[in-house]
Symmetry: C2
Subunit: 118 residues, 2 copies
């Protein structure tokens, strides 16, 4: 998912296309490329599980220290997936003391879902 890092503002891209759903008129190449990058960030079992754990946590926020054991992956792998989700606009990251905390940005998910809805 290295390509994610080359796109500086995926959330804005999702925002731009959220009002022209996939079903109303043929989408253009640029819109399709933006949406594909965003969907690719979601299209991974570990990332979906991490996103789901964060989203269902209190305040839709979780410490990275609480995310490693549930998915059964190494800390570097979990950090990589969280970075991809953050770059794609689905999570925001803040550091408090030793730990990083990740919080859901629900508008990014709503944007993708809205784009697919007829």
């Amino acid at each position: 998912m290295v390509t994610m890092l080359e796109v500086t503002d995926i959330t804005a891209s999702v925002g731009e296309v959220c009002c022209a759903p996939l079903m109303k008129e043929p989408i253009g190449q640029q819109e399709a490329e933006h949406l594909a990058i965003t969907l690719k960030a979601l299209a991974d079992p570990a990332r979906l599980r991490l996103l789901s754990i964060v989203a269902s946590s209190e305040g839709q926020e979780a410490c990275v220290c609480d995310l490693i054991e549930p998915v059964g992956l190494s800390q570097p792998t979990v950090s990589h997936h969280l970075k991809v989700l953050t770059e794609a606009g689905f999570l925001s990251r803040s550091k408090r003391g030793t730990w990083a905390y990740y919080k859901l940005k629900p508008e990014a998910l709503t944007g993708v879902a809205g784009f697919l809805t007829i």
Copy 2:
């Protein structure tokens, strides 16, 4: 996207998870794998454009003969992408005379969107 061909009933998988949205409780590994496969089928610019053209056509159906020129890809490439979308449950295929026709299965898109919605 060869993995798509190994999954016999993605639509059923999407249906199963549509009532347990990503945000309400942590999803399990099997649900995450099914959803990731479905999202991967969507996460391609050419497939998003093809799906969008079919979905915005009259009756949400289009002849393959009308899909090649708009996306500017070869006929084999377009056929491959249409096959992936069909295997993933987003399109159904019927043959009439010389041509194959592809019709949107909106419930598959609604299932994915519903899963992402909070």
